[in-house]
């Protein structure tokens, strides 16, 4: 992908933005549902697992510096594999966007726009997706670099304002339903770090390709810290949080925070910032979809296909009317889609490509 090269910070923001949107929407809730009062321990555990996974990925990527997963798949299995991986990646990005968009729109609808159709809200988000991709990749990356730190600060800010509500007793029982549930089945919670999807595409975009490891570690660390903070805040500040809120847990934190003492409705500022974060993610997702498509088809310019991609996202998002069914599918996709594609297929592909390289190197004089 020969577009604007990324600095390390820009690359980290690119990975983190997907995580931010999930943490704002449903990520802590999903972990809380599976791990209950032991969610903090589980979060720390999966952070360690993901760090180990990142080390593995970086080691595997070392032989393919400057190549993304599409190039690596072409190296491994030629054009057919390249097309398969490309299509899978496009599907993943489109569905990820669909679910995030629909769920965020649903939340907005419930809180502020009861009299409006969800299609109108989604249309506005996708309109930005089209406009930004027509304006250019550079603008998308730079605007994301401005929005991500603001969004992270906003999340941090919410934790600070519920600090006085934290009570250690609420973490009991420490292992909730048993250690096996935390450390064995709980290991599947590594899907929380699905931002690593971009790690497989980021290498050719970096200014300094040797900095891939720095980017990967920093982004995993930032995501990990914020995940632990959000889960700890929810577990320690509110009893029975995992059964109460059907809305975004972050929204729940804000409306119960001390901020309300100073401002009439403090959540509006945060929702405004998170709205910008979702817009930024949609821009990036559409940009990556277009670039993967460009790579698969060898077309000269793909930016005008942004309208098509956004229309597809819109249509898919409108397909399911039943919001609970939609949420269930979204959660399944988020969890298993990430586990299968990012932690499964991509990793296997990298391992196979490394074996092939080793084999070829040994065979060739």
């Amino acid at each position: 992908m020969n577009y604007t090269k990324l600095g390390n910070f820009e690359a980290i923001c690119l990975i983190v933005v997907l995580f931010i949107n999930h943490i704002v929407l449903n990520l802590p809730q999903m972990i809380l549902n599976s791990s209950g009062s032991a969610s903090t321990i589980n979060a720390i555990y999966i952070l360690i697992l993901v760090l180990l996974f990142t080390i593995l990925i970086l080691k595997l990527l070392k032989n393919f510096i400057g190549l993304d997963i599409i190039d690596i798949s072409e190296y491994l299995g030629g054009k057919p594999l390249k097309i398969i991986i490309g299509i899978l990646s496009i599907f993943y990005l489109i569905f990820e966007t669909v679910f995030l968009l629909r769920m965020f729109s649903k939340n907005l609808l419930l809180v502020y726009f009861q009299n409006y159709p969800v299609s109108f809200i989604m249309f506005l988000f996708l309109f930005i997706g089209v406009v930004s991709n027509i304006i250019g990749k550079k603008s998308i990356i730079k605007s994301n670099t401005i929005i991500v730190p603001i969004a992270l600060f906003s999340i941090l800010f919410t934790f600070i304002f519920v600090a006085d509500l934290l009570k250690i007793e609420r973490s009991m029982p420490i292992f909730y339903n048993g250690a096996s549930q935390i450390f064995l089945s709980g290991a599947s919670n590594i899907f929380a770090f699905n931002g690593l999807f971009f790690l497989f595409f980021i290498s050719p975009l970096l200014n300094k390709k040797e900095d891939t490891s720095k980017v990967a570690f920093w982004s995993v660390l930032i995501c990990g810290i914020f995940l632990i903070l959000s889960i700890t805040t929810l577990v320690f500040a509110f009893s029975d949080i995992y059964t109460v809120s059907r809305l975004s847990p972050m929204y729940f934190i804000i409306i119960n925070s001390r901020l309300s003492a100073f401002l009439e409705r403090p959540e509006v500022i945060f929702i405004f910032i998170w709205t910008l974060a979702l817009m930024s993610f949609i821009n990036i997702a559409v940009m990556f979809v277009l670039n993967i498509f460009k790579k698969l088809t060898n077309i000269k310019e793909a930016k005008h296909l942004a309208v098509t991609v956004c229309t597809i996202i819109f249509v898919i998002a409108m397909l399911l009317n039943h919001i609970f069914a939609f949420e269930t599918i979204a959660n399944y996709f988020y969890k298993y889609g990430t586990l299968i594609l990012v932690f499964g297929i991509f990793t296997l592909l990298l391992i196979s490509a490394n074996i092939k390289k080793k084999f070829f190197n040994r065979r060739s004089p």
């Binding site: 600095g7 390390n8 910070f9 820009e10 923001c13 907005l108 502020y112 726009f113 409006y116 109108f120 809200i121 506005l124 309109f127 930005i128 406009v131 930004s132 304006i135 250019g136 550079k138 603008s139 998308i140 730079k142 605007s143 670099t145 401005i146 929005i147 730190p149 009439e264 409705r265 509006v268 929702i271 405004f272 709205t275 910008l276 817009m279 930024s280």
Partner: protein, 568 residues
């Protein structure tokens, strides 16, 4: 008028002669227009000055239309040099030259007999003499009238010899005079400018309390002098160039040779040298011709009327462009925060400067977003505001017959109308009109139940904050964008505002000013978010801006106050 004449007029009216004029189209008289074109083309073909003074005079008479062009003076006279007489003439524009200078230091030495021009110089003609075999070989210096006039007859400090008519005409048009001498196929371009200028006065739009009280004027040479006086360094380069194929407007490209980036200077020269227009009147026009992204309304070039601000930017490593006839200098490249900086920031302590900068940023946000947010809150998110305030708004709108969007757009347009009218009316009435508009009409509109009092407050705050933005173009941009935010706020509440803000952000990140990203230095990745936005203490301003990539990165040593820390 006699009574009989009046009666005659009533009973025997005669048709009054009336004047009719119809603009002829280019197709009306094809033959005449073709013949004129041919004539002009022939004239334009002439480039070199002729050796015959009569041919030169005739050519100039035709070219300048001397029969009808009354301010062009062609003064013929006899020039005395070394006891010989030559026919000559002086060409100049009346009113643009200093008459005393021409009379005393051009015509007098050339026309009157004096020791210089009556000296035949025969004894000085022999440079060397050698006798071999009784044959005397003398090396004789040939008399050169051109050199003689240049070196001995004209006591002027700025004379140039030109061989082409176009150069001579450009000089004449800018206030010089030209001396043509018979037998010479050159002309002397003598600098005798002496037209009336506005004196250097106080800045009107960039007022400061502690800083210098001088502003640029319309004359480019005075403006370059103002800058040179401040910078006082031989590395300041001022390159002259002309823009406009008809107006030949003089422009000056100023930069510090030892600081400014060479590529930046080359780019500025390239852009200025490749502007193909008929005329250039102002720096505002030039600004639109040299900016990178002309389709976006965000300002990309700094315009200042203050020589001290221009000098500061030059010393930072930027480029200043001056246009003759415009009291504003253009500074490139520019980043977003430059438009929120006041010249006062450098004159006051950094705490005050930063407080003012925060206030200006807040003013920018308010002027851009407040009406849109008001519409969004009253239309969608009534729960955001305290209940008491909500009741007050509802009560104040009870008698208003219009929808909120109609009401606010009408009020904003009225405000813009008052502002525009205030600019057009004569100065003594201007402020009065503003007061009448704001107080009387506003109060009357509220009393009549056309608008709500809260809306008047919103519009007034928005208007006041727009004046807190130091840059005129940025304030203008906010005034225009505000309407978009009002519509977005009405359509989708705060989500609409977010959409607008995001598009604004995307545009701002796309814009470049002479290769420098508009927001680049303030993106956290560069680690310059605070130093980029806020003013550092004077002793801490050690480095020039990264994005300028200057030849000298450091402005001052790490310890600038040596008196305080003598050992470091």
């Amino acid at each position: 008028m006699k009574f009989t004449d009046t009666l005659k007029k009533i009973f025997f009216p005669t048709e009054e002669p009336t004047h009719h004029f119809t603009m002829p189209s280019s197709n009306d008289d094809i033959n005449s227009s073709i013949s004129t074109n041919v004539e002009i083309e022939n004239i334009d073909e002439v480039k070199e000055i002729f050796p015959s003074i009569d041919v030169n005079a005739e050519y100039i008479k035709v070219k300048y239309n001397l029969l009808i062009n009354n301010d062009i003076i062609l003064r013929e006279f006899t020039l005395n040099a070394r006891n010989k007489q030559y026919r000559a003439f002086l060409l100049f524009v009346d009113g643009m030259i200093d008459m005393n200078l021409v009379n005393d230091y051009v015509l007098k030495p050339l026309m009157l007999r004096n020791t210089a021009n009556s000296f035949d110089g025969n004894q000085n003609q022999v440079i060397s003499e050698a006798v071999t075999n009784n044959i005397t070989v003398r090396k004789v210096k040939k008399f050169d009238i051109k050199e003689y006039i240049l070196n001995s007859l004209l006591p002027q400090n700025n004379i140039k010899v030109k061989s082409e008519f176009k150069d001579i005409f450009a000089s004449i048009n800018s206030g010089n005079c030209a001396l043509f001498v018979d037998t010479l196929n050159i002309a002397f371009d003598i600098d005798v400018k002496g037209f009336k200028l506005r004196s250097v006065s106080k800045p009107e739009n960039e007022v400061v309390i502690r800083g210098p009280q001088e502003a640029f004027i319309e004359n480019i040479r005075v403006n370059t002098t103002l800058i040179r006086r401040i910078i006082n360094n031989e590395n300041l380069i001022i390159e002259n160039m002309q823009i406009g194929s008809l107006s030949h407007t003089a422009c000056a490209l100023c930069y510090m040779k030892n600081i400014a980036n060479d590529d930046l200077v080359a780019e500025a020269k390239y852009r200025l040298n490749n502007i193909n227009i008929d005329y250039l009147i102002s720096s505002g026009q030039l600004e639109q011709l040299i900016e990178d992204n002309s389709k976006y309304s965000l300002p990309q070039v700094i315009a200042t009327e203050r020589p001290d601000k221009a000098a500061t930017h030059l010393l930072e490593g930027r480029i200043v462009i001056l246009v003759n006839g415009s009291p504003y200098a253009l500074v490139v490249p520019a980043t977003f925060i430059d438009f929120l900086e006041s010249p006062e920031d450098n004159n006051i302590k950094f705490q005050f400067a930063n407080l003012l900068k925060i206030i200006r940023i807040a003013a920018l946000m308010i002027t851009l977003l407040l009406p849109g947010i008001y519409v969004a809150i009253t239309s969608f998110h009534q729960e955001f505001i305290p209940t008491e305030l909500l009741f007050a708004i509802v009560a104040s709108r009870a008698t208003v017959p219009f929808s909120i969007i109609f009401e606010i757009i009408i009020m904003e347009l009225s405000f813009e109308l008052i502002r525009e009218a205030g600019l057009r009316v004569p100065t003594p009435i201007g402020p009065t009109l503003g007061i009448i508009g704001a107080l009387i009409i506003g109060q009357a509109a509220v009393d009549a139940g056309i608008v709500s009092p809260i809306l008047i407050i919103i519009v007034a705050i928005t208007g006041i904050t727009s004046f807190a933005i130091p840059d005129y173009y940025l304030a203008f941009h906010c005034r225009v964008s505000r309407f978009a935010y009002i519509i977005l706020g009405y359509l989708a509440g705060l989500l609409g505002i977010a959409v607008g803000a995001f598009i604004h952000l995307l545009i701002a990140t796309k814009i470049q000013s002479f290769g420098v990203s508009y927001l680049d230095s303030y993106i956290p990745s560069k680690g310059k978010i605070f130093t980029g936005i806020f003013t550092a203490p004077t002793w801490k301003r050690e480095k020039r801006a990264d994005f300028l990539d200057t030849k000298k990165a450091e402005k001052q040593e790490h310890i600038s106050m040596k008196w305080k820390y003598p050992n470091q």
